[in-house]
Each structure stands twice: as C-alpha cells, then as structure tokens.
Symmetry: C2
Subunit: 272 residues, 2 copies
DNA sequence: GCTTGACCCTCCCCTTGGGGGAGGCCTCAA
DNA sequence: TTGAGGCCTCCCCCAAGGGGAGGGTCAAGC
C-alpha cells in the first residue's frame, strides 16, 4: 500500500489532485486510517488513476469521467462518450479556426497599412485583377455601410482574402440616396442571405489614387483622378471603387486623419 | 443617458455582466446616482462596450481587454496583442487536433473490432500491402511492448493510420529474451528518437488467422498456420506479424477473452 | 524513549466570467 | 399614493484544482 505521496509519484498526479478526486469520489483510496485520516492506495488504484489521466488528457470533465468509469470496462463501451467528445472538439476547432481567421485578417490589413503609413501617394495607372467578392447593394447614406460590413463579416466568418471596399454606382457624388455596394473579397463562394451578392468582380485598367484622411474630404481625390482621366482622353467607367486600406478597424474607430482609402476609377477609350 | 437595463438591451450584454465589468473597472458607468447607486451610461460607453464585446469574441481575458483598452486607440496599436492571441490559438488548435486524432484512432479501431466481434475466423491467404510504420526493436519479454506503444504514441501524437502490431523476428516462440518490434502504422514519416525506426514495411503474400483470446494462448494459432503452410509446401518468412485488432485499449485493459489478434505469417516458395 | 524532519491532515480562500437569487430601495405612470 | 417593474448590494455557485495556515503523524537516528 502506498501513501498519498508515494502514489502521487507513481501516478504523476499531485497530492492536491488526489485529495480532490477522493472528495469527488472519482478515485477513492483503498484504505483510510480512521485515526490519522491517512490515505493508502493499492495497485488497482494505480490502474484506475491511469484511466482517469488518459480521460483527462482527452479533456473530459470529471463528471463525465466518473460516468465513463461507472459504465465502461472496455474502450468499446465508451464509444458513445468518445464520439460525443469528438463532436464537441470538432465544434470547438471550427470556432477557434474562425477566430484565427478573423485575427489573421486584421493582422494582415493593419500590417499592410502600416507600411503605407508615411508614403506619399500619386496617381497610378494599374491593371486590377478580377476578384471573388460578396457585396450588399445599398441605397442611402454611406454610413450605412458599417451595418453591411457587419452582416458580411458574420456571413463569411471573417474568411477574407483582402481589404474590404465599396463599389460606387453613381456618376456624381451623392450624400443622400447614394447607390453603392460595400463588399468583401472572399476566398470561397458560399450561399447565404439573398441580399448578399456573391460573384467574380471583373478586373481591368484603372487610375488609382490613395486618399489620406476622413471620408468627407474624398471628393478632392475623385477630382484629381477625373482631371487626369480627361487629360489622358479616357472615359471613366462605373462602378468606381473605394478600397479601405486603413479605416475604422475591427476594434477601434481610430483616427480619421490617418485613414487611407484607395480610389480606383476604371477607364476605357472615349466614345469620340 | 441610459439606465443599466436600457444599456443592456443596446449592447446585448446582460445586466450581470455590466455590473461585473463595472466592478472590474473595465466599463465604468458614465454617472452613478450617489443616493440610489443607479448606473447611467452614455454613447461613448456603447462604443467601449462594442470594443469589449469584439475582444471577448476573440476570447481575450478581461485582464487583457483592460490592458488593450488602456494602451490602444487604433487596431494597429493592438497588433502585438492580436499576434500573441493568434499564437495562443494556434497552440490550442494544435493540441485539440492531437486529441481529435487520438479519438479518431480509438473510435475507428473499436468500431472495426466490433464488426468482427462475433465472426468465425479461418485461415486466409492474403496479399498484404506495404505500409509506412514506426517501430521500436526490443529484446526481452512481450509485456515490455506496452512501454514501446506508449513511446510511439507520444512521439506520433496518435496520428495513426491503422491498428498497431508487433513484428516477431524469432523463428520459435520465446518467452524470455524474445526479439520483436512493436510498431504503429503512421501517416507521415517524422524524425524522433533514435530508438524509433521509421520505414516502409514491405508487403507480400501471407497466411493469416485471427486469434481470439489472451496472448498466452496464441501459440495454437501459430501452430495451425504453420501446418497449413507446410501442407501447401510453402516456406514461412521472418518476421511474422501480430496485428492487434482488439487488445488492451487506450483506456481500459478490457476482457482478454475478447481480444482479437491477426497473426500474419509471410510465405515464399520452399528452397527444395 | 525522545527528538527531528518529512509527511499528511483539514479548512479556508483564490482563480475565470459571470449566473441565480434574497431582501430591500427607487422610479415612473396611473 | 400605490403598484409594478427596475435597480441596488450581498452572498453563494460553477471546474479543477493551487496555495497556504495550523496542526497531527510517521520513521529514523540518538
């Protein structure tokens, strides 16, 4: 018979844990000295302790372990418990993966934005690649886009492939009753809400300029792009895009003076 | 100003939670009526509550959230915290995956063993496919294989591809000083312990018979296989294999009378 | 036989993120 | 003014033990 200290060394369970298991009636000592209260354990207790440890490593709760020990003599008897545990772990894994994905997205966007922080921006003539996106066409004021982004975030579990943006379908700036579409680039198509429009956004040639500062001064940036387009004798196409390099974050609104928004106006040859 | 109940509805945080956050100084009400103790919250508190909720969804602890709120005004400021959290989640994911893998292995083996539970077994002439295995060559008594399996389990995190077995290098039964190799079929090779020998085990033709019952009666099964091999004028090759379809489980030792072990003796043409 | 040091006992408080409920005060509308 | 619902503080509860106080026990050495 082993004293609790010896048994603790034999099983690699702490004395505290053993006393706790005794109290929970999970692992009762083989004998308890009635006068001193000293606990003594035998070989069978070592085997039971081994099973309990194995089940703890599978992260069963002590209650579940007690139930398994009551009902099972063989691994095959425990199949239901094991399958249930397996399912719970699969759910936990899925949840953690969605958190990881959200973290990755915000880490990536903020890191990229950081490198552009102190840059000077000029008009660039770019070829934009096609991209799979999910968007919600909206009519009204631009501050409604927050809700749209929230809905997209929930629907796609933050499984984003890049910075979010807005498609602008109006050919002049509108404050009220604007026609626009907040969108997320996504990795895989997925059916969700009927309001959410998932499709491949076509690419093409666009003149782009990064706007620094709050959104209410963005018309200046549009103005510069449109004069350049006229100067190059090109025609602006709709919808134009605003890509949020750095805007209100997932957590904090941040400082609007530091917001960075790339305005992309797609262009084609003039009709003339 | 909102009362705590109104604020609770506005933020989807329970009243209990809000009082708890107040106590933890995480989200202090904008005003507290000194005579009644009633809490009142303003718009800024709603924004702060939104941030706290977002951080809770990323499963930050309240202490971490308090720290983030103290130090950050922008998502970019929180990058270190986010990266740390991301790392912790990656570790947790890896751990859960190893548990899931262990559960899968035991569920698969026990389920397969169940289907063979009531079967009658006869000698079968099989072609065994090659398999990637990790084994520990051992000299001594067969009950030492428990430790070997434990070591293999730890080294490969239960990432098993099928039932474990033992290779037998002796051409006669030895109780003491036997020469054998407990092995696990594995999915991917991996360098570990120098004692652990990882390689592709070659396949081939083998006569196989499932032995039912404890290991100490397994020599009868060997006898039946060897007489059949002699009758067919074949030569037995070494090492032979014992594949544990159902034996002492990951949790319970179970009932030895129900153990199932497939003995596989590889054969070639006789020299004569 | 006695001492000493290691070992063991019980009891209580602590951790996380709140939930449940008791007992009592406050507010607002009828 | 009264009643209902809202709000307050205080206390206990969950899981799985950890930390420590205060005190009894055991075995070995003298």
């Amino acid at each position: 018979m082993l004293s609790i200290g010896e048994f603790s060394r034999a099983t690699a369970l702490t004395v505290k844990t053993l006393r706790h298991y005794h109290e929970r009636k999970l692992l009762v000592p083989t004998a308890v000295d009635p006068s001193s209260g000293y606990r003594y354990y035998d070989e069978a207790a070592i085997e039971r302790a081994r099973v309990i440890k194995a089940l703890r490593e599978l992260e069963f709760s002590l209650d579940e372990i007690a139930e398994i020990l009551r009902e099972c003599d063989d691994d095959a008897d425990a199949l239901e418990f094991l399958a249930r545990r397996r399912k719970a772990i699969a759910e936990r894994l899925a949840h953690l993966r969605s958190i990881a994905s959200a973290l990755d997205t915000v880490i990536r966007t903020e890191t990229e934005a950081k490198t552009m922080h102190d840059q000077e921006f000029a008009i660039e003539d770019k070829t934009i690649a096609p991209a799979l996106v999910a968007g919600i066409r909206t009519r009204g004021r631009f501050d409604q886009s927050r809700d749209a982004f929230k809905r997209l975030g929930r629907a796609f579990g933050f499984g984003l492939a890049g910075p979010a943006g807005i498609l602008i379908y109006d050919d002049e700036y509108k404050d009220q009753d604007a026609d626009f579409e907040p969108y997320f680039p996504i990795k895989r198509a997925k059916k969700t809400d009927p309001d959410i429009h998932v499709r491949e956004l076509s690419g093409g040639r666009a003149l782009c300029l990064v706007h620094r500062g709050p959104y209410d001064t963005i018309s200046k940036t549009y103005g510069r792009l449109l004069s350049e387009i006229r100067a190059q004798k090109l025609a602006p196409l709709l919808p134009s895009r605003e890509v949020y390099i750095k805007g209100p974050g997932m957590l904090f609104a941040g400082n609007p003076a530091k917001y960075l928004t790339e305005v992309q106006i797609f262009v084609g040859p003039t009709d003339a």
